[in-house]
Amino acid sequence: MSIKFQNVTKKFADVLVVDDLSLEINDGEFVVLLGPSGCGKTTTLRMLAGLETVTSGDIYVHGQRVNDVPTQQRDLAMVFQSYALYPHMSIAENIGYPLRVRKVGRDERENQVARVAKLLKIEQLLERKPRQLSGGERQRVALARAIVREPRAYLMDEPLSNLDARLRVQMRGELKRLQHELRTTTIYVTHDQAEAMTLASRVAVMNKGRLQQFDTPLNIYNHPSNRFVAEFVGSPSMNFIEGKIERGMFLSDAIRFPVAKPDASVSMGIRPEHVHVLTQPQDGTIPASVYVTELMGNETFVFLSVGNHRMIARAPADFRAEVESTVWLRLEPGKAHFFAKPTSTDYTE
C-alpha cells in the first residue's frame, strides 16, 4: 500500500524531532530511512505505526488519513530493534499472536505459523521459548511474526543492528529476497549506510529531523544533494577540501584544477575511489605524503596529508608505500562535487 507523509512535524515538549517531513512511498517499495542517531527516523516510523502522536501534518496509508487511527487498527507489522518477542510464550505462540488476537481459528493459525516457519527455516524452534534462542534466531522469529499475516506495510526499526557482522550481511540478503517475494511496502530504519544502499529501492536520508534527500541509492551516492548526504553515505567517507572557484579554476592551498563553474567560496568533495595514488609524478598530479595505509585484503585505504588537509584514497590491494613517503595524486575532476558555503546546497547539478 502507498504511504504518504505530508508536512509531518513532531515535537517532544520543545524539542523538534521531525521537522516538516513530506515523503511519498509507492506500493511495494522498499524505502530506507537513513540517518545518524537522533535524526528523527525512528520517530517517523513510530508515528506511522501510531506509537507516537503527530504534532502537525498528516500521514496517509493507501489514501486514508491515519493520524487518529489507533495502532491496532492500522494493520501494519513492525519488527523492533529489540525484537520484542513475548518471553512467556513459545516461538509458535509468538508467531501466532497476531492471528490469535484476530480470532483466527486454531487449525488455521497452526497452518500459517508452520508456513512462515518453513519460509524462515525455524520449524525446529517452534516449541522453544525466546530466551533459548540465539540473536539471529530471535531476529527470524520477529520477522516471522510480522509476515504471518498480510499487513498493509512492514515497518522495521534497525532489525539487524543487534546481530554480529557476518550474520547481519546474511540476514540483509534474506530480507531483500523476502521483500522481493512478498512485494509488500517496507519501511526500514537504519543508521548503517551499507544496509541502506543494498536494501532500498529508495533511500530517505534524514538529519536533525529534516529530510535531506529522497532518491535511489545510486543517485544518493553519485549525486548527493548536500554536504551532509555526501559525507554520510559512502565508506570510507568522501574527502572535503575547502577552497574557492575563481575564473574557472578550483583553488585551495594544495590542490587546483579547472572547473566550469561561476566564482564562489566552496567545499570540494571527492570520493576515495576517485583519488588515484601514483608513485611517480605525472602531469597535473598533486604531491602528498602518506600518513598511514590500511590493508583491507581486497584493497588498500591510503590516508594522506595534502597541504593542511587529510584525504583518503582507495588503492589496489598490492599498493605499498612507507609512512611519510611522498606520493602523487591524480583526482578525477569530473567526479568532484562542489558545495557552496554556508548554505551547503550542491551546485554541480
Binding site: T71, Q72, F80, Y86, Y97, P98, R145
Partner: protein
C-alpha cells in the same frame, strides 16, 4: 595453627549465627504450639515443661467447637481474600496507568506520591473518623467495612510494588502487541500481566498477611461474633476474670497455618518477585 583456629571459628559462626536466629525467631512459636497442646496445669508448671507433657486437643475443641473461632476464621478468610483481590485489581490497574501514560502537569508522578503519602501517618489517626464513617454508612459490624478499609490500606502498597514491576517490562513488548493488532487491555492481559505475575504473587502474599493479621481496625469496627476476625477473637479471650491461654494458643496456631501454607506455596514467586530486575533475565 592460628590460621586454622580462625578457620574453625569462622566456620563455627556460619553455623551458629543462623541457628541462633532461628531459635530466637521460632521460640515464641514453639511456646505457643506447646501451650495449645498442654493442659492448664502443665501450662503453669514450674520449672516449665519443655518437652515432657501429655498432649491434649481439648483447647482446639474448646476454640472451634464450643466457642465461635470457626466463625472468626471464616470471617478472616473472606475479608483477607476479598480485600486482597480488590486491592490487587484496583492497584494494578492504577500502577499500570501511572507507569505507562504521561499525564498532564506530570500528574503521574504527583499522583504516585499522593498515593504513597496516605501511608505516612499512623493508622490509628484514621480509626475514629473511619468508625464514624462506617457508623453513618451503617456498615459497623460487617465484613464489608473491613474489606473497604483493608483495600484502602493495601492500595498504596500495591500501587508502588506493581509500579516497579511494570517499569521492568520493556515498553517494546506492549507496543509490539498493539502493532500486532491487540487492544490495550488485551496486551495488558495477554502480554504484560503474565510477565509481572511473580510480582503479583509477591504483592498478594503481603496484602494477605497484612489483612489477616490486622487488629486495630478490626477491633474498632467489629464487636459482634458474626463480624469479628481471628485476631480480635483471640484477644477477646483476655478478660478481667481469666486469660484462656490454651484457647488463645490453639486459635493462634490455626491462624498461622493458612499464611504459612500460602507463603510456602508462593515461595518461588516471592523470591523472584522481590528480586525482579536485580538480574536481567
Amino acid at each position: 595453627m592460628r590460621g586454622r583456629r580462625k578457620g574453625i571459628f569462622q566456620r563455627g559462626l556460619v553455623v551458629v549465627a543462623p541457628v541462633a536466629a532461628l531459635v530466637v525467631a521460632l521460640a515464641p512459636v514453639y511456646w505457643m504450639i506447646t501451650i495449645s497442646l498442654k493442659t492448664e496445669v502443665d501450662q503453669f508448671a514450674s520449672p516449665p515443661k519443655w518437652f515432657a507433657f501429655t498432649p491434649t486437643l481439648q483447647h482446639y475443641y474448646d476454640a472451634f467447637v464450643t466457642r465461635s473461632f470457626g466463625q472468626y476464621l471464616l470471617t478472616s478468610a473472606i475479608v483477607a481474600v476479598v480485600s486482597t483481590a480488590c486491592a490487587l485489581t484496583i492497584g494494578t490497574a492504577a500502577a499500570y496507568a501511572l507507569t505507562r501514560f504521561r499525564l498532564p502537569y506530570g500528574l503521574e508522578r504527583r499522583l504516585s506520591l499522593w498515593i504513597l503519602s496516605t501511608r505516612m501517618f499512623p493508622a490509628i489517626v484514621t480509626a475514629v473518623p473511619l468508625f464514624l464513617m462506617m457508623r453513618d454508612l451503617r456498615l459497623l459490624n460487617t465484613k464489608a467495612s473491613l474489606i473497604i478499609v483493608y483495600t484502602a490500606f493495601n492500595l498504596p502498597f500495591v500501587v508502588w510494588m506493581m509500579r516497579g514491576f511494570f517499569a521492568e517490562v520493556p515498553r517494546d513488548l506492549e507496543e509490539a502487541a498493539l502493532v500486532d493488532g491487540d487492544s490495550r487491555l488485551g496486551a495488558l492481559v495477554r502480554v504484560i500481566l503474565p510477565l509481572v505475575s511473580p510480582g503479583l504473587a509477591a504483592t498478594a502474599v503481603f496484602c494477605l498477611i497484612v489483612s489477616w493479621n490486622e487488629f486495630l481496625f478490626a477491633l474498632v469496627l467489629t464487636q459482634t461474633d458474626a463480624a469479628m476476625t481471628l485476631p480480635v477473637g483471640i484477644a477477646g479471650r483476655v478478660t478481667q476474670y481469666e486469660i484462656k491461654w490454651g484457647v488463645m494458643s490453639a486459635a493462634g496456631v490455626v491462624a498461622m497455618m493458612p499464611i504459612l501454607v500460602f507463603a510456602l506455596a508462593m515461595q518461588r514467586y516471592l523470591v523472584r518477585g522481590l528480586s525482579l530486575g536485580a538480574v536481567k533475565g
